[in-house]
């Protein structure tokens, strides 16, 4: 097993280097602590004994566990700690968590794809078990007995011969000298032995989040630090034709102003063409920047109009101007009474709009190395990208990961950190780049707009016989290669190629959809449009066949083993929502159903809506999830609540549009997100399971929008095929 190797390779040496060497560098530069959180965490880790990359125990029993994944609201710092502490047999009251810096030693740190638990559960358990083994071995050596005579439980090792006990704090130093065991020497717990895994433990960051001391990227303060705000090219690929900065430089608080980042599109994660104003505080920088009159050159994207784009895509998709990507044929007799049903679904571009706009602080040390403090999903990507732009090696870029005030995929792109590094280098002083909400809405890596056309051949006697799909949306690969204009078969199209459905013939085609802006990953990615179109079309077919949508889902999911979980949650959610009694609801109220498998989890949603005139109210949303083994039941429920609200924002409100190549929206007045007075009652059901863990952060989102549209149809008889619904209703 290569996990044993992993633990060996990434052991103390690197951990200690990570924590202490860089702190020393940093203390040369500054007289008072910089980022309080990071320094405190590093000091804490240094004072104890490191048993491996993730586990550090101090004499006073404090256990400091390292979280190598970014915390953005999913509760990963607590979940990672729960997993390690469980196998470690640590007492939870002594457990602290610190955030790992960016370092290859941790393996993949890119916090995306709802992967933290499903990819790392076993590995993290081994790190805990390995440290527990070392504590036991240390005690065995001390008592001069065999390790089999020693038992670790709740922060103590007990000598089974005489009942003597030593605490983890007592043993820490001795244990740190023990050879790291091989994975095959470790016995992991059985699920029924778990103390923490599966429990809804309170978040370890709860206190700091409630008393205002939690530190986010926007909050970083460094002595001698300057603040920078930027005005970026409104149209992709456009550059500055004319700007006069003389007057700007004279404004109160302004230190410098300059243009930067002349790059042609696609820029991947580089800084786009912009004017930067550097000042002694954010407000001074922003005010001077807003007063500027910048003339931009046109680019080849200056004519782009997203409304016209959708019309073109729709025509192409409906007229089969597409290439086949996948097909499935099962042998069955062709029914005689086939009729055709078609529908085209469209979604606009979407912005991430995390509550915390992007921000990054950079400083260069005397030895030429660069240090970053930022709210990033992928610290190693920051190392690589910053290093490349400022002429360093990735190891010379130290990335301290703060808490992320939401991310949803936005903060996987390090463009804003590159800006900070470039400006800090130029200024020879620490600089924080502060993005405004306008910057965030207008310079996102957008979720692509999409058109999906479904065509079905259905039969009263044989049901859904043939299903053809034509998709038109821009692939994320266009970020690196502008010629990529067809979604990736193994990624963006994977869940729309539903070969496990109980259907005789299926084909998936894609229309050429070149990029006109930066396209990125948004929470659940292409599942958003795929699940929307599938979930709605399933409902349309059911109604055309005069079937109960639930019966239709059950029939299409069939008895295929790979569909059993999805079928189960679909039936569970319907039971919760009293689906079979839905006809007894008041006339203007109705239920809508949708289900979707993504990120290795299965989720079904029923929404209860009320439509009075043109007022649409979402009264209640029911959700059932099977995500296999659960680490923190409360955070799983919280993520489902979150996904419902996020999905409702998409269904009801979110829209980014382009005119003359530029984004038309700028802040929460025109890029609206759901507010508390629009939010429904929520009921979440989590299937108990000891199966492999599935993803949790993303898969709740996709089934929400189609469930709403289906409910509106059931209430009004009106079938909406484009979002957001606030184009038809007051919400």
């Amino acid at each position: 097993m290569d996990n044993a190797l992993n633990i060996q390779n990434v052991s103390r040496r690197q951990f200690i280097r990570g924590a202490s060497a860089s702190t020393a560098v940093f203390s040369l530069q500054c007289t008072i602590p910089l980022s309080a959180l990071t320094v405190a965490e590093q000091a804490q880790a240094q004072s104890g004994s490191a048993l491996n990359l993730f586990v550090n125990i101090a004499k006073d029993n404090t256990v400091t566990l390292t979280c190598h994944r970014s915390e953005m609201g999913q509760g990963i710092r607590t979940s990672v700690a729960q997993v390690i502490a469980d196998e470690l047999e640590a007492d939870w009251q002594y457990v602290n968590v610190i955030q790992a810096i960016g370092d290859k030693a941790y393996g993949d740190q890119n916090t995306d794809g709802s992967q933290s638990i499903r990819r790392f559960l076993t590995e993290l358990r081994q790190f805990g078990a390995s440290a527990q083994y070392m504590l036991k071995q240390a005690a065995a050596n001390f008592w001069q007995v065999d390790i089999s005579q020693c038992e670790a439980k709740n922060h103590y090792v007990t000598n089974n011969n005489n009942g003597r006990k030593l605490s983890y704090g007592d043993l820490a130093e001795l244990a740190s000298a023990i050879t790291v065991p091989d994975a095959n020497q470790l016995t992991l717990k059985k699920p029924e032995q778990f103390n923490y895994i599966g429990k809804g433990l309170k978040s370890l960051d709860l206190d700091s989040m409630i008393n205002g001391t939690a530190e986010y990227g926007q909050d970083v303060q460094i002595p001698n630090m300057l603040y920078a705000c930027l005005k970026r090219a409104p149209v992709m690929g456009s550059t500055i034709a004319k700007v006069d900065l003389d007057n700007t430089k004279k404004q109160a608080g302004v230190v410098d102003a300059f243009t930067m980042g002349e790059h042609s599109f696609p820029v991947t994660f580089n800084a786009v063409s912009s004017v930067a104003v550097v000042a002694t505080n954010t407000w001074a920088a922003k005010k001077a920047l807003d007063a500027l009159n910048i003339q931009w050159r046109d680019s080849e994207y200056s004519q782009y109009d997203s409304q016209a784009d959708v019309q073109t895509k729709q025509q192409m998709a409906e007229n089969g101007k597409s290439k086949r990507q996948a097909q499935a044929n099962k042998q069955g007799p062709k029914p005689k009474d086939l009729t055709e049903l078609t529908a085209t679904y469209t979604l606009p571009y979407l912005a991430h709009a995390p509550m915390e706009p992007p921000a990054a602080t950079a400083m260069f040390h005397k030895d030429g190395s660069c240090e970053i403090w930022s709210c990033v999903q992928s610290p190693q990507a920051v190392q690589r990208n910053v290093a490349q732009r400022v002429g360093l090696k990735p190891e010379q870029v130290k990335v301290n990961v703060t808490l992320l005030g939401g991310a949803f995929g936005r903060k996987a792109q390090p463009d804003f950190v590159v800006e900070a590094a470039l400006i800090a280098k130029r200024m020879g002083q620490p600089v924080k780049v502060v993005w405004s909400r306008e910057d965030d809405i207008q310079h996102d890596y957008y979720h692509t707009n999409s058109v999906i056309h479904h065509k079905a051949q259905i039969s009263r006697t044989a049901g859904l016989y043939r299903w053809d799909t034509h998709v038109a949306f821009t692939p994320i690969q266009s970020l690196w290669n502008i010629n990529k204009d067809i979604p990736n078969k193994n990624f963006e199209l994977r869940d729309i190629i539903r070969h496990n459905f109980n259907i005789d013939k299926m084909q998936t085609h894609a229309v050429s959809s070149p990029a006109h802006t930066r396209i990125g990953w948004l929470r659940s990615v292409a599942n958003i449009q795929n699940a929307f179109s599938i979930g709605c079309f399933m409902d349309e077919v059911a109604h055309a066949l005069k079937q109960n949508p639930l019966a239709h889902w059950n029939h299409l999911l069939g008895n295929q083993p790979e569909n059993s979980k999805l079928k189960n949650v679909t039936n569970r959610v319907c039971e919760m929502a009293n689906w079979q009694q839905r006809d007894s609801l008041p006339e203007d109220e109705a239920l809508g159903l949708a289900a979707h498998h993504s990120f290795a989890s299965d989720i079904a949603v029923v929404s209860h809506v009320k439509v009075t005139g043109n007022k649409l109210t979402v009264k209640k949303v029911y959700l059932s999830i099977d995500a296999g083994t659960i680490v923190n039941i409360d955070r799983v429920k919280a993520q489902m609540e979150s996904a419902i609200i996020f999905g409702l924002s998409i269904a009801l409100l979110n829209e980014i549009s382009f005119k003359n190549g530029a984004v038309e929206q700028s802040n929460f007045h025109d890029f609206q997100v759901l507010r508390i007075n629009q939010s429904p009652e929520i009921q979440v059901d989590v299937v108990k399971s000891t199966d492999k863990p599935g993803g949790v952060g993303e898969p709740g989102v996709p089934p929400v929008p189609p469930s709403i549209v289906n409910a509106v149809y059931a209430a009004t008889g009106k079938r909406h095929r484009s979002l957001p619904l606030n184009q038809f209703y007051t919400v």
Binding site: S203, G212, A353, I645
Partner: protein
Amino acid sequence: MKYTLSINNRVHQVEAEPDMPVLWVLRDLLNFTGTKFGCGKGLCGACTVLLNGQALRSCSLPISAVGDGKLATIEEVDRIAEYKKNAIAIKQAWQDNNVPQCGYCQPGQIMSAIALVSNNSRLDKQAIKNGMSGNICRCGTYARIEKAICSVAGVNCKEMESK
């Protein structure tokens, strides 16, 4: 311009342009970073502070408008006599319901909630929703915020739900 501000019952002197919003005075000049920047336009509530008992969006409040008003921020609102009782109760309810996800909007939510329960002797579920509608939570912690405030305001959420 020189200004003398009362923040959390302590006097702070700052030098700032008259139009500088209190948000940036707090964050950049005085290091009170618990008050968050979310939109800068009074649209999201992340920057909410209390001024003489009222919840205000500090991003839209110029320093010159504060005068001798008393400001309270998330860091110490539970130590100020007039807010103490409700602030402690609200923060405890936030703990009990494990409300925060990313946590970024929560200082603003908590400040709005403190003002809401302090300034309204009789609240119901709808009044709570209306009162909190200026605070966005992109993580979608609304159901728990509502539950937490209901528990402090003595509103029976469950009973209201069934109606």
